[in-house]
Amino acid sequence: MSVDAATVRRIAHLARIAVSEGEVPHLQGELNAMLAFVEQLSEVNVEGVEPMTSVTPMQMKKRQDVIDDGDIADDIVANAPATEGHFFLVPKVVE
């Protein structure tokens, strides 16, 4: 399988990465090189094989449903580019 220019633009939008028209052919070439490389997986017989979900055989641990952290709002907003009080500021989302 390979991707065309329209698909490259669609993937970029899905990934929320701005891509200029001039970058599309180059990216298309690189993505297709990667897709050509992974193409060899199609020759593996995976009939009846379970997909891996956990590399080590372990039970998913569950924490107690209790509050064990908090009151760190200052810490949480400390690195934000724009804040007001304990809120993150973003451009207007709802008209």
Binding site: H13, A15, R16, I17, A18, V55, T56, P81, V90, P91
Partner: protein, 491 residues
């Protein structure tokens, strides 16, 4: 007094205990070495004040007889580890001047045991790379050069700063991370020892995530013993990481010098690649002969799905990365580029903040997870991963204790020499290491010799899950036979 930077960690521990020198003297010696080696670009942030404070605190504890196992030992920290109050960027522009308000579990355990932080080490952006060329702080120089040449070579990656700093004697050991070979490949390129422990051995909490089902923390050190000492402090169960294994951490150092007599060492025939350089082949046979001379038994084994590990990795790792890196949106931390609306703000921020390799991997990951392609790519790759793991399980079930392979298909190469036209050329560096991440196993890279141009080469040992001890015992045999290698200083 001998130059304090040339000691191993184990020797420094003895000197500190015997009060031959103080941690402050040891720390100052390394801070001076770092200053004199800035041309290597191994450190992206030096923290001398903090280092001296930590060294003084360690000296107090040593004086009071309360020294922890790493008391007063100066270390470098890969910039992927969150360090409280000290800028942490994963060497990406998108994290900008991110200053964590918390400490990663692994580094917290190192400080608990008395270690001293010298600063933050360069790495490939978000650990995506095999040459440390994708860092937003620029490439790292390998302290090793080809005989009679002035060309600067790459130290490997992604933990290139860690490997370069340890090899150049700028720190006594360093933290690193390994998703597809990022500890073992740079260790092999710089004649240092690097171990990627079993998946779940070290907590991933507070380490910038790349591909969560593959990422593992581990040390790069000057000797097998040093790496065992560091791993003991770094490992251990952490309730904050659900994939962290709740199993006891043994005293790894006790495995050093233990007899390997009667151990069965697998030599996998699929690792004998067409066109493999003769010197890699020779190194591999030599390593096998050393283990045999120490009493181990060599057996040929087959890992039939080996050739599919790298292509499966280049689906699984980018898929997980695209999901993990979705958090970099310019809202909560890091870089923000303006846009007409919030979507444009995201798109402009991520276009400006991510470098070319990261953009490429996030895009391929987005594609293989997108509607209509998930089954053909991602699900198939996860099935292939099951087969790769089963290959190893079958091998261990037949009584094999560890597997010996080359660590890399070549020695270090020049900056800009690889991957310019085709990204896959760079990816092939990890051909011998990536299988280990796909199967969640422990793997150690140990220096074993040099190529015709005088560049170091390493061997890899792969172990059973949670059996790092066997790797330390076998690694020590290789180190004793091969000796240790130090680069001639040119910086």
């Amino acid at each position: 007094m001998t130059d304090l930077t040339s000691l191993t960690l184990a020797e420094a521990r003895k000197g500190l205990a015997a009060k031959t020198f103080t941690s402050l003297e040891l720390t100052d010696a390394h801070l001076s070495a770092i200053e004199a080696a800035r041309v290597l670009n191994a450190f992206v942030m030096e923290t001398p004040d903090q280092a001296r404070d930590m060294a003084n605190a360690a000296d107090d504890k040593i004086a009071k007889g309360e020294a922890g196992p790493l008391a007063g030992i100066p270390l470098g920290i890969k910039d992927l580890y969150a360090t409280k109050g000290v800028r942490t960027t994963a060497c990406s522009k998108i994290l900008g001047n991110f200053v964590p308000t918390y400490e990663s579990t692994v580094t917290a355990q190192l400080w608990r045991d008395g270690a001293v932080m010298l600063g933050k080490l360069n790495n490939d952006e978000f650990a995506m790379g095999s040459a440390n060329e994708t860092s937003c702080f620029g490439p790292v120089g390998n302290p090793w050069r080809r005989e009679g040449s002035n060309t600067t070579l790459v130290p490997g990656g992604s933990s290139g700063g860690s490997a370069s700093a340890v090899a150049a004697l700028l720190c006594m050991g360093a933290t690193a991370t390994d998703t597809g070979g990022s500890i073992r490949q740079p260790a092999a390129f710089t004649a240092t020892v690097g171990i990627k422990p079993t998946y779940g051995r070290c907590s991933r909490w507070g380490i910038v995530a790349f591909a969560s089902s593959l990422d593992q923390a581990g040390p790069i050190a000057r000797s097998v013993r040093d790496s065992a000492m560091l791993l003991r402090s770094m490992a251990g169960h952490d309730p904050k990481d659900t994939t962290s294994a709740d199993v006891p951490v043994p005293d790894y150092e006790a495995a050093i010098g233990k007899s390997v007599r009667g151990m069965k060492i697998g030599i996998p025939k699929e690792y004998r690649l067409d066109g493999m350089p003769a010197e890699i082949e020779k190194l591999w046979s030599e390593g096998a002969a050393w283990l045999k001379a120490a009493g181990a038994e060599l057996v040929e084994v087959s890992l039939p799905h080996t050739k599919y590990a790298l292509p499966a990795y280049y689906i699984v790792a980018p898929a997980e990365a695209s999901s993990n890196l979705a958090r970099y949106d310019g809202v909560r931390y890091g870089l923000r580029e303006q846009g007409k609306n919030i979507i444009e703000q995201y798109e402009n921020t991520r276009a400006e903040g991510f470098g070319a390799e990261v953009r490429r991997r996030v895009m391929i990951g987005t594609y293989v997870l997108s509607a209509g392609y998930y089954d053909a790519y991602y699900l198939r790759a996860q099935k292939v991963r099951t087969l790769i793991k089963k290959d190893f399980e079958d091998c261990f079930a037949r009584g094999v204790d560890a597997i010996l392979t080359p660590a890399t298909p070549s020695a270090a190469f020049g900056i800009g020499e690889k991957g310019g036209a085709d990204p896959v050329e760079m990816y092939l560096n990890d051909i011998f290491t990536v299988t280990v991440n796909m199967a969640g196993l422990p793997g150690i890279a140990v220096p074993a010799g040099k190529d015709a141009q005088g560049l170091p080469l390493g061997l890899q040992l792969i172990g059973r899950p949670f059996d790092e001890e066997t790797l330390f015992s076998l690694g020590e045999v290789i180190e004793q036979a091969a000796g240790r290698f130090t680069p001639a200083r040119w910086w």
